[in-house]
């Protein structure tokens, strides 16, 4: 049974290989191959899951050792897998949602001549992501970690002819690399500390060394997590990543890849438990991002960017939870899963809307779409209710638990975190309601289709004639079905997990679990949560539901404008890093040319000049030559005599 684990990764990898090397002859069947292999991987996952349930809770970890990857004196990097409950959760999420989105893409990318390639990339992503979660050591995890980075790079930049897309892709990869630096340094630290970087030995030995070391490792891991999970200060790439095709945003930049950071931290729980300072840092990052994302989400008019902001903030929740230690890990993962459902659903919905609206992404140019695309409306609506944590739906259970845990983390920290999470819930409710209203309610604010040459983005799907008014329509079956499935998930998953703490118990062997004991009783917290979210909804309704919405966004307050620009974070990067970098490189190029090279050419020039001057002595007059001879002899004699004298 263990040996199936490799198959998880192998199937989509095979798909990627076939599709990317296969050439044009596969164009017609490519998407089927891709989807089939994704599904196959899912099936394997389910089989393994079944098997896993078969064992008793403590002995569920399965291992598979393939071969020694980098065998060097004192350094053993193996290709070996470990599938425990935590990994299994991810495997199911990844393959499940992944398969759905494959199906969705069949319809969505129908008219793109490079569809085969697209599916190849998607499979590549699945393979890398699965490798990431089933790896049994940090080095292999790093392999998957960079692999998903590559996949996301390829998919964000899938429409490479769009400069914006290409730039976004590059940005994503490079920002991630900064995070990866953290991961690789963490691995080096582990190597020098423990002499290995396999999960088992490392996580068992955490106690045996100084807390400082642990803190260092923890912070490095956090840096990595920030990069991958778009947490402050490395969050800037996620918004731009929306340049990618919408399924990509759904799969990679909502449901799965961006949550890798949460996985990393949860997986390394033992390390963080041994390093309180690192935990504090984690929590702080989570809290800040949570608000940051939410605020950004409020200001965006681009539907995908708004959702991206929300993703950021939701992951903030997870990171925060993970930072709380054993009381939080389980909830972090649970929220991660539910979020996977509803956020994917929301994105697919958004994609469907754009599909119907000539790829218009500006919500201010939507409105009143509910009767034109009912399925999309319903599924999107359910996802909406889920994410704002409407009682009874998935988001409610998972998020509420996190808020409780936040309060329970004790002392001032507890109160602060509690309030922050509550506040976050409110804002979430606000901006999601805004999205909902702008898109599906109110009067039509549709605009004639833009001239494709002028606009950067022309998503495929329907050929767009400039100046033509959009005629919204429901999307094809291949697209709606996945949305429906995900909607189911968004509605019931949370409840299903929470009944009898199923989920927590399931993960408990891996992540441990302490029951949170918040200072105020749980019902009160729940009440507060509900109250806050209702408030958020109400405000949004008052702002956008009552009075007509201007098609062109009002200038808005400073905060709004700042928020539209991701709270000026990009501008900061641009000025400090990009500009600074450019100046640095330019000046270095200058230095290299004038100084370093100059020294060399300088010496050559000096010799030449010296030569030119000495040459003048050779003036062609025999008498001068005689003089030099005479003088030479004189010196010769004088020297010899002096030699003797001294």
């Amino acid at each position: 049974m263990e040996n199936l684990i490799a198959l998880l990764v192998a199937a989509p990898l095979l798909g990627a290989a076939v599709l990317l090397c296969g050439g044009r002859r596969l164009d017609r069947v490519g998407h089927w191959i891709g989807t089939a292999l994704a599904a196959a991987s899912f099936v394997v996952g389910v089989v393994l899951f079944g098997a896993m349930l078969g064992y008793d809770a403590e002995a569920r970890t399965m291992r598979q050792h393939l071969y020694s990857w980098i065998p060097v004196e004192g350094f053993q990097g193996d290709i070996a897998f470990q599938l425990d409950q935590l990994s299994m959760t991810f495997v199911l999420l990844i393959t499940g949602v992944g398969t759905l989105i494959h199906i969705y893409s069949i319809g969505y990318m129908e008219h793109d001549e490079r569809r085969r390639r697209f599916f190849g990339y998607l499979n590549l992503f699945l393979a890398a992501m699965l490798l990431l979660v089933v790896a049994d050591n940090y080095l292999l995890l790093y392999f998957g970690w960079e692999g998903v980075g590559l996949a996301s790079y390829l998919l964000i930049g899938f429409w490479q002819h769009k400069p914006s897309a290409a730039t976004a892709a590059k940005k994503a990869f490079i920002v991630n690399r900064v995070g990866d630096m953290g991961l690789s340094i963490a691995i080096m630290l582990m190597f020098t500390t423990f002499g290995t970087f396999a999960f088992g030995p490392v996580l068992e030995a955490t106690g045996e060394t100084s807390e400082g070391k642990m803190t260092a490792i923890g912070l490095m891991l956090l840096l990595a997590a920030c990069g991958k999970s778009a947490q402050v200060p490395l969050q800037s790439w996620l918004g731009d990543a929306m340049e990618g095709p919408t399924p990509v945003s759904a799969l990679i930049h909502a449901a799965t890849m961006v949550t890798a950071g949460v996985y990393l931290i949860t997986r390394s729980g033992a390390i963080f438990n041994a390093a309180p300072d690192a935990q504090t840092a984690v929590v702080a990052v989570g809290a800040v991002t949570l608000l940051f994302g939410a605020i950004v989400g409020c200001a965006k008019d681009d539907i995908k960017k708004a959702l991206a902001g929300s993703t950021m903030s939701q992951i903030g929740y997870m990171i925060l939870a993970a930072g709380l230690g054993p009381i939080g890990y389980a909830f972090a993962i649970m929220h991660l899963v539910t979020h996977g459902f509803f956020k994917a659903g929301l994105f697919l919905g958004a994609g469907s809307v754009m599909h119907g609206m000539n790829d218009e992404v500006d919500m201010r140019k939507y409105g009143g779409l509910r009767k034109y695309m009912p399925v999309t409306f319903v599924t999107f609506g359910l996802g909406y209710l889920a994410i704002i944590g409407f009682p009874g739906l998935s988001g409610f259970f998972s998020k509420d638990k996190i808020i409780e845990a936040a309060f329970a983390s004790g002392g001032a920290q507890g109160w602060i975190l509690g309030t922050v999470t509550l506040l976050g819930a409110g804002i979430t409710a606000y901006y999601m309601t805004r999205v909902m209203i702008l898109t599906f309610f109110g009067e039509k604010r549709w605009q004639p289709a833009p001239d494709p040459d002028k606009t950067a983005s022309v998503e495929p799907g329907i050929e767009v004639h400039p100046g033509e008014m959009p005629h919204p329509h429901e999307s094809p079956r291949s697209m709606t079905i996945p949305m429906i499935v995900l909607a189911f998930g968004s509605v019931f998953a949370g409840g299903f997990f929470s009944i009898g703490d199923r989920f927590v118990n399931w993960l408990e062997p891996v992540t441990q679990f302490d029951h949170p004991h918040p200072p105020i009783s749980v019902p009160v917290i729940t009440g507060m949560t509900v109250a806050v979210l209702l408030a958020g909804v109400a405000i949004a309704y008052l702002q956008y539901g009552r009075k007509p919405v201007p098609v062109v966004a009002p200038r808005g307050s400073f905060v709004t404008r700042a928020a539209r620009r991701d709270l000026l974070q990009d501008d900061f990067n641009h000025v400090v890093l990009v500009r600074g970098g450019e100046h640095l490189t330019r000046s270095l190029v200058y230095v290299d040319h004038t100084l370093v090279d100059g020294v060399v050419n300088g010496t050559a020039a000096t010799v030449g000049g010296l030569s030119g001057r000495l040459r003048k002595l050779q003036n062609g007059y025999a008498r001068t030559y005689a003089v030099s001879m005479f003088g030479g002899t004189a010196i010769l004699i004088a020297a010899t005599l002096l030699m003797r004298a001294v």
């Binding site: 062609g620 008498r623 005689a626």
Partner: protein, 99 residues
């Protein structure tokens, strides 16, 4: 009379000859100065020969004269041919090649 004085004379002649080589422009004169130097050498040889009381020095002097004669032959040949082409025997005029 102390033979050392002959040495001083020799050195003097030699120096005069050398100075002449360095100063004079006319090839012939320069060449004569060289001859003067050779003769200074001869004088030195003879003087030393006397001091040491063996004949080597004197014999060498004869050799030197022969060599000097040979030099004259060759030298004059060259200088004359030079003069015939350039109509000047100045060593400074002959400075096509330099630097």
């Amino acid at each position: 009379m102390n033979p050392v004085n002959y040495l001083y004379l020799a050195a003097l002649l030699f120096t005069i000859g050398a100075a002449g080589v360095l100063i004079r422009r006319n090839a012939i004169v320069v060449f004569m100065c060289v001859e003067l130097m050779l003769n200074a050498c001869n004088l030195a040889f003879v003087a030393f020969s006397r001091m040491h009381g063996n004949l080597d020095g004197q014999i060498i002097a004869f050799f030197t004269m022969v060599v000097a004669a040979a030099e004259v032959v060759v030298g004059l040949a060259i200088i004359v041919s030079l003069f015939r082409t350039r109509h000047s025997a100045s060593v400074d005029d002959a400075s096509l090649m330099k630097l």
